[in-house]
Structure formats: C-alpha cells, structure tokens
Symmetry: C3
Subunit: 346 residues, 3 copies
C-alpha cells in the first residue's frame, strides 16, 4: 500500500519548514540520483550539494540555508534524521497483533500483554512477563522468569535466559543470546570448577543486540546495558560488565568481565577491552583497538595496546620505515666509530 503525503504534512511530522509548494504530494523517498517527481529526496552530506541542481525529485529535505536550485524544499536542522524518519513513515508497517500462534509454546503463569505476536516455534517458559505489542519470532526461546518490556522485538532463534529483564522497545536480532553463563571457573589445582553464574542481564529501554551477539549473565548481580545503547552483530559482553547510555558497540567487539563503559562511547569494529577497566564518557576507540587499561573521557584512542589516536597515527606512519631506520642507525654507528678513531689518531 503506497502512502501519499503533502510536503506540509511531512514538514509537520518532521518539525521542519517548507520552502516552495507545500501542497505537493509525494509517495516515497529516494536518493538524489534516483528520485522521480513523485518522491522526496534528501541532502544529508553537504559534499553532494551540487547534485540538488540535477535531481528529478519533487522535493528535497535539507539543512536550513542550503542552495535550493529552485526545488521545493523542506528545511530541517538534521536532514539525516529526517531521512530516517521518512523511511519509517513510508516503508515500515506496524506489526499486526497476531496473538499466540498455534505452534508456539507458552509455559504456565505467563503474563501476556495486549497486541502481542508470538510466532510458531517460539518457546516461552514459566513465570514470564511479555509487555504490550511485543513480537517474538519463530524459534526464539524465552527461559523462565524473564521480563520483556513493551514493543520489544525478539527475532528468530534469539535466546533470553532465565530471569533476565529487557526494557521497552528493545530489539534482539536473530541468534542473539542474552544471559548465557559468564565464563567463570575456580582453578582447583589441576582443572577448573565452574562457578555458578547466579546473576542476570538487564537491558534498559531501547537497547538493541545484533545477530549472534552474546551478553553473559553476571556471576552474582547484574550485567547492565543502559538505555539506548546498540550492540552490533557478534559482539561479546562478559559477565558483570556495565555499559552506559547511547553507546555504539560495533561488530565483533569483545568486552571482558567487570569492565565499565561510560555514556556515548563508540567502540569500533573488533575492539577488545580487557576486564576490570573503566572507559570514560564520549570515548571513541578505533577499529581493532586493544584497551588494556582504563581510558579517560572525551578522547579518541587507537592501537593495541591503545593510545591517543593521533599518537597512534604518527607511530603507525613510522612503522613501514623501521627497516630503513635500523639500517641507517647501524650506518651512523659505524661513521661515529670512524670519526672517533680519526679524532684519536689526530
């Protein structure tokens, strides 16, 4: 079903301002090059401003004050955010509430909210609470005592183990695991005695966990991921970690036990963080970085072991020159020996 909207309706929805024909009707969103007259397009990156002159789009979403080249425009402080919101408006459909479908398995004493969908092959344990409008896809497994907040989406074959708690609007991609046992063993001299992991995982509101990522339950208390934080695919969070609000934890990052990450932190792909360290607010760690100690807030680090990003860049620039440096050093050593010899002779 195609929706149509006037520019004025879109501007009202986004909190923007129309310049041009406010009554123009569009039925979707497309990139600058691909959009036709029935579509709105967007200019998120000023680098592409010149393309506005050539687009065939009916209208352009852009930042205030941009050159419109005579186009109909919706001005908006954050056009990239506007693009995302229009994608939602035009191309996503609210999930129809299907109830508990026949081949789903639901345990005893389960509290089901309104407007939920539980698909065939999903298995819900006992004493579980499922909030309103939650969707649980096929093959997802919810162990006993779990709480899932409203509008959360659990994709196929994701697992939430016993007593873990998810906030509102959380999303687990397929295969994500929440609440697996922490990797804790007490050495008994020869082998390892498994330490029962009796804590839980708490995901606050708007937390998303990527495909086949794993978040371990705490040994005794809580592994905590705070509001708005997003974990990409194949991320590992070990037991007792705490991750702050609105962090971006990119694919294949691993965070060892009991480490504490601040708010608005970005860990780029494949970063590793050792256990029992703290990372301050607003830190960025570059891809493949190895965080082996605590990091002060508001800074950008790279490398393994990690160091300030600029320092790392300079060091890496020298790396390919090491063989030459070594050769030169040996040559200089010889020359100095010769100079010394000559001075002694004289």
């Amino acid at each position: 079903m195609i929706q149509t909207k006037t520019l004025q309706e879109l501007a009202d929805y986004l909190g923007g301002t129309v310049r041009g024909d406010a009554g123009l009707v569009v039925n979707g969103l497309a990139p600058l090059e691909a959009a036709g007259p029935d579509k709105i397009t967007f200019l998120a990156n000023p680098r592409y401003a010149a393309k506005v002159a050539e687009t065939k789009a009916g209208a352009v979403l852009m930042a205030p004050g941009g050159e419109a080249y005579g186009r109909n425009v919706i001005e908006l402080a954050n056009p990239y955010l506007g693009f995302a919101k229009l994608l939602t408006l035009f191309y996503t459909v609210a999930h129809p509430p299907l109830g508990v479908l026949p081949e789903a398995v639901v345990g005893t004493n389960v509290n089901l909210g309104e407007g939920i969908s539980i698909y065939p092959g999903a298995v819900i344990g006992n004493n579980v609470t499922i909030g309103d409008r939650v969707v649980i896809h096929p093959g997802a497994v919810i162990y006993d005592g779990v709480v899932i907040g409203e509008k959360s989406v659990i994709h196929a074959n994701a697992v939430v183990r016993e007593h873990c708690r998810l906030g509102k609007r959380c999303k687990l991609q397929p295969g994500a695991v929440v609440g697996s046992d922490g990797f804790g063993y007490a050495p008994d001299g020869n082998s390892y005695y498994p330490i029962p992991q009796i804590g839980i995982v708490v995901l606050e509101d708007d937390v998303e966990i990527g495909a086949n990522a794993a978040v371990d339950r705490a040994a005794l208390e809580v592994t905590l991921i705070k509001r708005g934080t997003k974990l990409d695919n194949l991320v590992q969070v070990a037991h007792n970690c705490q991750i702050g609000e609105d962090c971006m934890i990119v694919s294949q990052v691993g965070i060892a036990g009991s480490s504490k990450i601040g708010n608005h932190v970005t860990l780029a792909g494949q970063v590793g963080v050792v256990g029992h360290v703290s990372i301050g607010d607003n830190v960025i760690v570059g891809a493949q970085g190895g965080v082996s100690g605590s990091l002060a807030a508001n800074a950008y680090y790279s490398g393994s072991p990690s160091m300030p990003h600029k320092e790392w860049l300079r060091a890496m620039g020298v790396l390919p020159k090491l063989p030459d440096m070594r050769k030169k050093l040996n040559e200089l050593e010889k020359k100095i020996a010769e100079l010394e010899a000559r001075l002694v002779k004289e």
Copy 2:
C-alpha cells in the same frame, strides 16, 4: 553401503588416465599411510612423493609424470580436486526427499519445489519460494517472501530474514543469519534513531555461509555476495557490502558497511575491513590485517593498518629490536655530543 569402482571408472569420472591395472576394484579413499589394497590414495603435495613407495594402497591418484614406484596410478592434473571428488563419490549420500515433515510449519502461499525436505521444527513464512531438492533442517527459520534456489541446504537454526534471495546450491551452516538489520542509526543529538533497513541480501549461486556468521540486509538496496564465494564461521558482513565471485572469507573476518570486495579475494582469519573502501581482484589480506583504505588488485597485504605483505614482514622483524635501537640511538646521541665538544675544544 560400500560402493566399489574400477580404476577405469574412477579415471572416467575424474577425467584422468590409468597407468597400471585399469580393472582393479577399490571401495574407498584413504591417506597414503592408512590405505590398504582395497583403497585408492592420493598424492596432492609433492613433498610426500617418497611415501608412494611405501603405501599399501591399491592405487594412487597423482599428477602426470610422478614416480609411480610400480603402483597402479590414476594421473590427473589436479589430484587434490580429484581427492575431493572421490570423497564425494564414496562417502556422501544424496539426501532423500522427505517432503514436509509433520512438525514443520509452513505458511501460506509457499511455492515448494520437487524433492524437498523440510524437517521438524523448521518454520517457513508466507509467500516463500523453495526450489527443487532444497533441504531445510530443524529449527531453521525462513521469513516471509524469501526465495531459495534449488539444491540449497539450510542447516539447523539458521535464519533467512524477509525477502532475501538465495541462489542455487547455497549452503548455510547452523546458526548462520542472512538479512539481519544493518547497524544504522541517525544521531538525534543525544541518542540514536534506528534507520529502517528496507533492503535485502542476495546470495548468488554456490555461496556458502559459515556457522553463526551474519550478513546484514542493506539499508535501501542490496547486500550482495556473488557466485561461488564462501564465508567461514562467525564472519560479519555489514549492510550494503558487495563481495565478488569466488572469494574466501575466513573465520571471524568483519567487513564494515558499503565496502566492495573484488573477485577471487582471500581475507584470512580475523581480518577487519573498514566501511566504504574497495578491495581489488585477487587480493590476499593476511590474518588479523586491518584494511583502513582501498587496496589495489593482485597484491598481498598484511598488518593493521595493512601494508604490502613484504613491507609488513620486514617491519615486524624489526619490532622486537626497538628497545635496542632506542638505546643505541641515545648512546650515539651522546657520542656525537662528545665528538662535537672535542672538536670545539680543539
């Protein structure tokens, strides 16, 4: 059931030539050391040529012109490929078509090919097309609108999300995820607004995806993996990537969004590739390499950040000597200061 074959039958099957007793019957394949007179063995690596003299095998598969030590031989240009084909011939059995088994769940408007097998616990959504002789193992979940080409195999608990398309003879190992949401968020100042990921994933023919690997759907268009490319376990492919034909993407590699990999590329284990770069045809990147920019074709790179492999090898050779170099540098500095002082005095 044991199969028996004459050497002539095997030579015909492989496209090789018999030297020796073409009527000799064998019933299987075994390594040089382990094979008895009822088995054929193979010499793939010339390093082990001397072992042919001692093998008890009834026959040896080898490259043309090798020393046969009086054995019956099938000559073949690529004996390793011949070994693989004989493994298939002697030890694999065509999957019997079982149809849709009782405990499988199949949605509405599903187009089922001939000779398929859909196991208990598999869940197929609506409007799905399943090609001839496809096998879908227990717990696999196929969302709405998916197309799966003939002879593809979907192992247990793998997931293919909505509208993704798989070619012929694709194979998903257990837990593989195709079509999870790309990791795309628009910052709204404080937190992150999820950008709907409305694109799909297309796997062309003969693509294989390893256990618990993840391939994200595109934001708007297609994440594409071309014919013949193999992804190992736990590989991550982010949204909008394009991977060429016949690539080998080894375990735990991560490729960030919108990067484009050529044909016949090998990325060794744990390599990371940043977003929005291109890697040319026939490139090899060594294990744990970090590709932070585009790479020209037909070359071998290593290191993080990556550089030409030989350059990296030389630089790494110097790394352990850095402390000595630093010490020597400081000594030379002193000596030069002394020399300068002496020259001034004189």
Copy 3:
C-alpha cells in the same frame, strides 16, 4: 527454598576446618561488604584482608593462618574454590527430570537415559544416544547418530551435527554449534569445489562451549577437545584441531585448521592461531595475540605476530616514541655529516 547449614556442615562439605562457633547456622553466601549475620562470606584475595574486621557476616571463609579479627572462620586452602562450591550448594537446584515434553521431537532408535529432560521445540534425530540426566533445552537440535554423555546440558538453540560425540557433564551455551562443516575447498582453477567433511567432533568429559561458538567437524577424522577444556562465547575452532585438557579459550579466539594445542593452555580474548602449528603445554597467549608459528611450552607470549610477552611489552613501550626516534635519527645524521665535513676541512 532457603537452605540452612551449620559451619561444621560447611567445613565438612568443603574439607575445611572451623575456628569459632561450629554450630552457627547460615543460610547463604554474600560478599564481605554485603553479608549479614545469617550469611557466610569469603576472603579470596589477600588484598581485602582488612575488610574482615568490618564485615557483618556470621562467618568468613579464608586461607589458613589469616587474621580472623575475632570472626568465626572456616579455614580452607583454596577459599575461592570454596566460594564457588558454596554458590553451588546454596543457590543452584538440581534440574528436575521432566522426561520428553510434548512438543519435543524425538526420532527413531533413540536411546534415552534416565532422569532426562527434553524441552519443547528441541529436535532429536535418529540413532541418537542421550545419557542419564541430560537436559536439552528448547530449540536445540541434535542430528542423527550423536552421542551425549550423562549430565550434559544443551542450552536453547545449540546444535550438534551428525555423529559428533559429547562426554559427560559437557555444557553447550545457547547457540553453540558443534560439528559444522570444516572450511575446506579444492580450487579447480576458477572456483572452489567443496571437500566433503566426513569427520566428526569429539568433546571429552567436562568440556564447555560458549554461546554462539563454533567447532567444525574434521575433514576425515576427528576435531578433538579434551577433558575439562572450556571455550568462551564466539570462539572458532576449525577442522582437524586438537585442544588439550583443561585449557581456557577465551571469547572470540579463532584457531585455524589442524593446529594442536597442549594442556593447560590459556588463549586470551581475540587471539588468532594460524593452521598447522603446535602450542606447548601451559602456554599463555595475551589478548589479541596472533600466533603465526609453533610456540614452546611453559611460556607467556603476546603480540601479532606473537613473541615472548616481556619482549612484546618492551617493544610496545617504544612504539609511541617512534616518531621522536625518527626525528632524532635524522638530526644525528646531519650532525655526523657536519662533523665529517669539518674533519675533512681541518
């Protein structure tokens, strides 16, 4: 249900000795700071010895000879192990044998032990042997011909492929995959011919596999993980590997094909090991290390490529100073040229 125990009962259970009121009753375990008089606490790390003076706990588990500050004490050579055992005693409950629950699917010729639990949505193939008191959680898939030893636990959506064998007391975390096809292909000039992987995986007793980890079946014989070894989440073990007893393989480690790891080896997070190498007993490899050749026993290595840990530490200490070293080297070169010029003139 709360259990109560006297200190004497606990000391007998742990093999320790009471100093103080052996008849004192406790009902649980808590950290030094949090424990009340009805709890026993523990001092595992001597650094916190002074906290014993302030704890409100009814008793303290500690090493022999520690300062008791007048508390009731159970002396035990390994108080951390004692803590783990008391967690088990007070906070874990034996899994009740539930039998085969209605929505589970069990194939033909399956040998079920006593006291087992097979949950809804689990799928067991044909010719499988399930030992006594095994627990198989929802969505787990056990292919044909698998053997699972007594008291093993298979968590939700884990997969064991055909003919693999698990020992006693093994544990698979959710999403773990055992027996996926090894990554083996024979190049045929242009593309890759898949080599049938006809071997299996054997996990000996007390092996644990983390969430979404993957252990590939051997090409021809056995991928072997020996008694007591623990794999953390998202670990990759390629075909034909052999891992010794009581190893700790931390999250996101990848071990390439045919490598052989000794006993009591620790590979820290994100370590990569290339194929066809050996690692000796008692080796430790530090986080993100890249093992590119065989490693001698009883040593600690770090870095990529890996080197002795101390050597790596010293080299890494110099890394940030490389730009300064390079500058100084160029300065010294000039100074030497000047000195040489002056000496020539004189």
